[in-house]
């Protein structure tokens, strides 16, 4: 019986102590008509050896040589120490730190994580994480509705330059709560939010404006101007940012005159492997005055009965297990283990390391421009980019990508899947993991695919 320690003697002794004849008797309160028949879709058990072999085979099956897709999930080097420490039993198999005295390891780590995230974003406070970047944006939208007491409209401006999936997820999550998400179009020349289309909303009751930085096209928004515009409308600013980019880019806390109100994003670039899209983690930071509207767990530093400092979950009054139907969110678990990894990752990279990574991503992606020019492949937008560039291909993207994949190179993300009029646009990302030789190979393989 895998993972069950009971010997025959144990079972008999335990049944005797309980006062029943067999284990089946313990289920006598379940109406017999309901009892389960045979399970047909669950195969017979495999030993660890057998499943190990199966999984090795399946993992090998999905191998690619080079990946140039970003679009919300980014391939970065993760120090070996990160997951070796994060998967230590004491982190891996611990529960949420409800018994603070017996969970100081996790609690102090989360406090350190919160501090790091506020440092990166330039905000006052951070929570202990949310599920992923997309759901974090949904929570940020809900939070802005709670936090912006001046606004009654529950209208949130959502630029078309925000990751399309983030927009879908936000829609799905806020749908039941009467919130209106208003799409703001982008300028096809720059690939940024179109300032002209914003003008139409001037003077209206707007709850919040979402600003993606960089946006889904990899282009940098004019975050200062957008922030100031939103604040002039008494709208809050929700920044959706890439945390690695923040090593180079202005932190949202310093956008415009007053800075963003809420900042969220996908934490994956900070130490989470691509891993088919998860587990990642969403981060969320805000200004101090909004902290009681923030969803998710928060760790605080305090004193114990002996006057020693230590760490506890705090502001639990916001949470579902206390407030039930009046909670700020139904969020219960967060992404603790990935946050553990991210904290170790950030501590290892440090400010200079993260800056080098960000700079290398920027440089590698931009180095593709010269290499692709001879193929007639050029950047589609004039806006400055961080580490993703939307290239315009001389023909539809899909078949080109398929041909490249056959050579073991994932060439990028086809923007036409989400933007029907951008069928010839390919979003390409070359992180710090790519060498000169990789960039050359990319150009070569694309050349062949275009031929």
């Amino acid at each position: 019986m895998p993972f069950i320690p009971h010997t025959e003697t144990d079972i008999q002794d335990m049944l005797a102590a309980i006062g029943v004849n067999d284990i089946e008797q313990l289920f006598d309160e379940i109406p017999s008509a309901l009892r389960t028949g045979p399970l047909n879709l669950v195969p017979e058990a495999m030993s660890e050896m057998e499943i190990t072999r199966l999984m090795h085979r399946r993992a090998a099956q999905d191998h690619v040589d080079l990946n140039f897709i970003g679009a919300g999930a980014y391939e970065h080097h993760i120090p070996a120490a990160v997951w070796q420490i994060a998967t230590r039993g004491e982190f891996y198999s611990a529960y949420t730190p409800y018994q603070a005295e017996a969970s100081q390891g996790t609690l102090q780590l989360v406090y350190e994580y919160q501090t790091m995230m506020t440092g990166l974003t330039g905000m006052d406070v951070s929570n202990a994480s949310l599920y992923d970047g997309a759901s974090a944006l949904a929570e940020a939208v809900l939070m802005s509705v709670r936090a912006n007491r001046k606004s009654k409209s529950h209208r949130v401006l959502m630029p078309a330059t925000v990751n399309p999936v983030y927009r879908s997820v936000t829609r799905a999550i806020v749908h039941g709560q009467g919130i209106e998400l208003v799409e703001v179009p982008f300028d096809p020349a720059t690939g940024r939010v179109d300032p002209k289309s914003l003008a139409a909303f001037e003077g209206q009751d707007i709850t919040a404006l979402v600003i993606p930085q960089p946006n889904f096209f990899g282009v940098l928004e004019e975050a200062d101007a957008l922030t100031d515009w939103a604040h002039a409308q008494d709208a809050q600013v929700i920044g959706v940012v890439n945390p690695v980019s923040l090593a180079l880019l202005k932190p949202p806390g310093e956008w415009g005159g007053k800075g963003a109100d809420i900042v969220c994003g996908e934490g994956q670039p900070l130490g989470a492997p691509l891993s088919s899209g998860g587990p990642y983690f969403g981060f969320m930071c805000c200004r101090k005055e909004h902290v009681r509207q923030m969803p998710g767990r928060i760790v605080g530093r305090t004193l114990d009965a002996d006057g020693r400092t230590g760490f506890v979950l705090t502001l639990q009054a916001r949470e579902q297990h206390i407030r039930r139907s009046k909670a700020t969110s139904n969020i219960c678990t967060n992404q603790g283990l990935v946050v553990t990894a991210a904290t170790i990752h950030m501590a290892l990279l440090g400010p200079e390391g993260l800056e080098r990574v960000a700079a290398a991503c920027h440089a590698n992606t931009h180095a593709l421009i010269e290499r692709l020019k001879p193929l007639g492949v050029t950047p589609a937008f004039a806006g400055e980019a961080f580490h993703e560039i939307a290239f315009r291909l001389p023909r539809p993207v899909r078949p080109v990508l398929d041909a490249m994949a056959q050579q073991g190179v994932l060439g990028g993300y086809a923007l036409g899947d989400d933007y029907s009029d951008l069928g010839d646009l390919l979003l390409v990302c070359a992180t710090e993991t790519k060498t000169e030789a990789d960039l050359d190979r990319y150009a070569e393989v694309m050349k062949a695919a275009l031929a």
Binding site: Q104, D132, L246, T333, G350, V357, E384
Partner: protein, 496 residues
Amino acid sequence: MLIFERSRPGRGATAQAPLREATVSGLPERFRRGTRAPLPELSELDVVRHYTRLSQKNFSIDTQFYPLGSCTMKYNPRACNSLAMLPGFLGRHPHAPDTHSQGFLACMFELQEMLRDVTGMKGGVSLTPMAGAQGEFAGVAMIRAYHDARKDTARTEILVPDAAHGTNPATATMCGYTVKEIPTDDSGDVDMEALKAALGPHTAGIMLTNPSTLGVFERRIKEIADLVHQAGGLLYYDGANLNAILGKVRPGDMGFDVIHMNLHKTFSTPHGGGGPGAGAVGVSERLRPFMPIPVVAKEGERYRFMTEKDLPQSIGRLSAFAGNAGVLLRAYVYMRMLGRAGMPRVAEFSTLNANYVMARLREKGFELAFPGRRATHEFIVTLKRLAKDTEVTAMDVAKRLLDFNYHAPTTYFPLLVPECLLIEPTETESKETLDGFVEAMAEILEEARTSPDKVKGAPYTQPNRRFDEVRAARELDVAWRPGAALDEVAEQGRTD
């Protein structure tokens, strides 16, 4: 000591970043950061040592018995971790084409099928919710989508028993419903009269856990299902306690329309100090069109993701990609190792362990909340009388247990049992471990009677004694800044 206090300007783990600095050109000043991000600066050794030491301050399954009721803290097989972290899985980009994803998709499809089987939810399973609470959300959102699709818009209420997890009412609210609480009767079952009174044309559905959070099986579940269905409502099953009945009775057979499962409970993916979890949802045929996407389909010998195009009535996407894939892989490996025969064993031995500990504690003088009932995989002890006699509370007992090297059971949940301890031993613990726990509980009971102050002062063996939680909330210190208020105190009280 905090990692920031170990930091020194100019130090670094320099093997971890590109060795040559790249030149960033064409990035105007207005986009750029003025000063470097205030991350700590340390050598690789310092970081490794800091976090290795920190880890040792945690209780965990791998080091302690952890009978935390409602959380199913069972052993997390180490193979699940290593196999989910094979380079081929870790390196797969979520947007990789199907041609380069068949290995991963095969695992996901088979996981869907196995979950469909053990829950009896014939309509299908979607793996995308990233946690139990998101699974709940998906479940209630599907109920709403179902009524909406039928233009049955008068249904604005969700019924929730008063013993339910806090997430249930919170979720109903998130989905735009009003919550109506249904009381529990003395034996721990739903109060049928109250239920009947609450049902009506406004009823969208009911959220139930069975076994309930009270650690007992709701015996009239079929009757409840019929009543709710007759009233036009749907039944949502909170899978928090699925471990108790795995392979023995299926939510689909009880009449539920939708279920979420906590893979991090029943299927042993790690809790990780608070996540990541995974909250797959299963549905009956009538809710199938509304499942959250993506869902993996098998066509011939090929697998692919079904999207908006396949399920146009879907409640939509809940995560940027396809949920917590790495967690799902762990659950997949676990289920394959248990296999068909292993599923009911989970229920049998978790139930045996719970009933055994219950019998032993009763024998030691502990008062049970529902003495007339079988325990399921967990049960409730109430210290109401002890607290009255000695002022020793459930929290005190919980803290004192830490000194015996046992994690505390869940305290003060469910809310309706005063001074309660919700105890869930899980099936992976041995009789010797359970006996040790029972002896420790008996010793604490004795201490509570003879030297209550000792219990009230516990724990004594941990890095800290009880915290000032009021101070934590009032003098909010949630991010370190050089020279912050507590620093000086920290300096004095430093233990490491």
